[in-house]
């Protein structure tokens, strides 16, 4: 198992490098440069601009700039934000925990909803329960997250006034009161994201379990006299989870899309909303770093999914 882990880790590194190459190429191909406002400033003669460019190495060939950028990112020097005047790494680290909290909880909620419903639907296919949940699943993943978010705000904040719709990272309370306030403000963004993920995952779980339930070893388990519950939980689910984990891992880049939208609607101070605000204020170092962080998170979660995969299916880790 540890050899498997090591192998997956070693594969992640070229993946990360490849992504960073793509990101950097996109940036290098883009027109415009950080000093273009200076071009219109009459106090800055062109030689000074040229000197500044040479000093920052903007005129070096692209491979050199890429190597410099990659080594800087790896060392933790992510640049300096044009707008906020602090290190980009500080800015991102301040906001990353919030995003991870909302994302992680939403994904967990999605799985908690999808697994039991999917399994029960597959065990009783085409029953009333199955048809109702399939309809809900379709509705769930056809509703765009931004629309669901707006509807939730309309219902729970405006008409019913039960929940606040602006997320504040600095709640002035302690202990239970703090946890209660946190829960009240976090429940809507987490529900919006989680239900969307859950709807998509329910369908996957259902079809995966449907495929496994017909196989011979399930018959064997039943004829051995094992109760239905044990058959399902011990034999069917564990094998059905394998394609589900693969599919969930493939969906991971999509979760960040949902995170960006939810953070915009509910004003959650995470890196998604930071990305949008830095795009609107042309803050390039922050944009590059955030995109890189998203890609790194994707690679990280894929690694975790691989580990879960290896644990679920012992054949994989022996290869």
């Amino acid at each position: 198992m540890s050899k498997y882990l090591l192998r997956r880790l070693l594969i992640s590194i070229p993946a990360l490098l490849g992504i960073s190459l793509v990101l950097f190429t996109v940036l290098a191909l883009a027109p415009g440069d950080p000093f273009e406002e200076l071009a219109t400033n009459p106090n800055v003669p062109p030689e000074v601009r040229a000197n500044l460019r040479a000093q920052f190495g903007l005129d070096d060939p692209i491979p050199v700039r890429y190597m410099r950028w990659v080594t800087a990112m790896v060392k933790g020097d992510w640049g300096f934000s044009f707008v906020s005047r602090i290190n980009v790494s500080t800015l991102i680290m301040q906001r990353l925990p919030t995003t991870l909290f909302v994302l992680g909880t939403a994904q967990l909620l999605g799985l908690l909803v999808a697994l039991p419903i999917g399994i029960y639907s597959a065990v009783r296919p085409y029953s009333l329960f199955d048809q109702i949940t399939t309809t809900f699943a379709f509705i769930g993943f056809s509703l765009p997250t931004f629309f669901t978010g707006l509807l939730f705000i309309l219902l729970f904040s405006i008409y019913l006034d039960w929940l606040p719709f602006i997320y504040r990272a600095d709640i002035s309370a302690t202990g239970w009161r703090w946890a209660w306030e946190m829960a009240r403000q976090a429940i809507m963004p987490i529900a919006v994201l989680g239900l969307f993920q859950g709807a998509a995952t329910t369908r996957f779980v259902r079809s995966a379990v449907l495929e496994v339930v017909r196989l011979d070893y399930v018959n064997t388990a039943r004829s051995k006299g094992l109760s239905e519950k044990v058959t399902i939980l011990k034999h069917v689910v564990r094998n059905a989870l394998i394609p589900v984990v693969t599919l969930v891992a493939l969906q991971i880049p999509g979760i960040f899309t949902g995170a960006v939208i939810t953070e915009q609607i509910f004003r959650v101070p995470g890196i998604g909303s930071l990305l949008i605000s830095s795009i609107l204020s042309n803050d390039t170092p922050v944009i590059m770093s955030i995109t890189f962080v998203f890609s790194a998170l994707v690679v990280l979660f894929n690694l975790i999914a691989d580990l879960v995969y290896g644990w679920l299916d012992p054949r994989i880790s022996f290869r």
Binding site: I19, F138, F256, V260, I276, I287, T291
Partner: protein, 298 residues
């Protein structure tokens, strides 16, 4: 004695018969047809201008004069939605075509060649699959928007950029599907027969393998339209899509989201429109998947 037998059906007729049994897919197809008809023909029948500013009528709820109400500048929302619907649907279809074309080409080359080319193309596919779609989309929009606007005009430039980027980030599943189909179809007898008769690889691919590989591609294509419409709406909702005067459905939601307490109708109509479109496409894709899957006995 002559036994009563059904006359042999063509593939298309068989698929249509199986599709018809899927009631929800029919509902999806019908709804989609209604929406497409509405946005194509609607602006010609309902001739209220989309940007007629009338402050006396601002933020009015739905009424006979304005069936979907007005926004904060007094513009009629129904007219704006009919106009913007064309663009949203056009983006969806165009992005899907790009994704399918690139994906099929990559998958076909990969599946047919095997070896180093296959390996290399699959590594590239994996790399693209690991890229987070929305952040990359936002990055490219941010970097290239001005250049394209200057080169091709504000609407066409943004349209091309959005379509190329959305399609360019959705070809990977199609490539994988096509490659898997190729790998299994390549060894079938009818392809061997064609090879034995002297068909060059290109002819084998185009005439024999590709038509049989297209089933999953059609399903993936229909779902891609839904995903592309969602992606464009998301971009517009974040304020980073088309220029502000073009009322795509996502853009209407972007303008509406800060006025939820006085004018909920402003947000509900475009949101429901996006939802119904995506829902019908999803049902349609599900029906197509069941109709075209050769292993399902219906």
């Amino acid at each position: 004695m002559v036994s009563a037998r059904r006359p042999p059906e063509s593939l298309a007729a068989d698929a249509w018969r199986r599709f018809r049994r899927h009631h929800l897919a029919i509902f999806g197809a019908a709804t989609l047809a209604v929406m497409v008809l509405a946005v194509l023909v609607g602006p010609m029948i309902y001739r209220v201008p989309i940007n007629e500013i009338d402050f006396k009528a601002k933020l009015k709820a739905p009424s006979w004069a304005h069936p979907m109400g007005t926004d904060d500048l007094g513009q009629d929302i129904l007219a704006r939605m009919l106009y913007g619907g064309r663009i949203s649907l056009a983006v969806g279809v165009a992005a899907m075509l790009i994704a399918i074309t690139v994906g099929t080409a990559v998958g076909a080359i990969s599946g047919q060649s095997g070896g180093v080319i296959d390996n290399g193309l699959m590594r590239v596919t994996d790399l693209f699959l690991a890229l987070p779609q929305l952040p990359l989309l936002l990055l490219i929009v941010y970097l290239f928007r001005d250049v394209l606007k200057k080169a091709l005009g504000p609407e066409a430039g943004v349209f091309i950029m959005i379509v190329v980027v959305i399609g360019g980030l959705r070809w990977m599943p199609v490539a994988r599907l096509v490659r898997a189909q190729f790998l299994s179809l390549r060894e079938k007898e009818f392809v061997e027969a064609a090879r034995g008769l002297g068909a060059k690889p290109l002819r084998q691919v185009i005439r024999h393998i590709l038509p049989n590989a297209l089933g999953p591609v059609i399903v993936a294509g229909s779902l891609d339209v839904a995903a592309a419409i969602l992606a464009e709406s998301t971009l517009s909702f974040l304020g980073l899509g088309f220029p502000p005067d073009i009322p795509t459905w996502g853009r209407i939601l972007f303008d509406a989201k800060d006025n939820l307490d006085f004018a909920p109708h402003w947000a509900i109509f475009p949101g429901t429109a996006i939802f119904l479109t995506v829902l019908s496409i999803n049902y349609l894709g599900d029906g197509l998947r069941d109709a075209l899957d050769p292993r399902k006995v219906l």
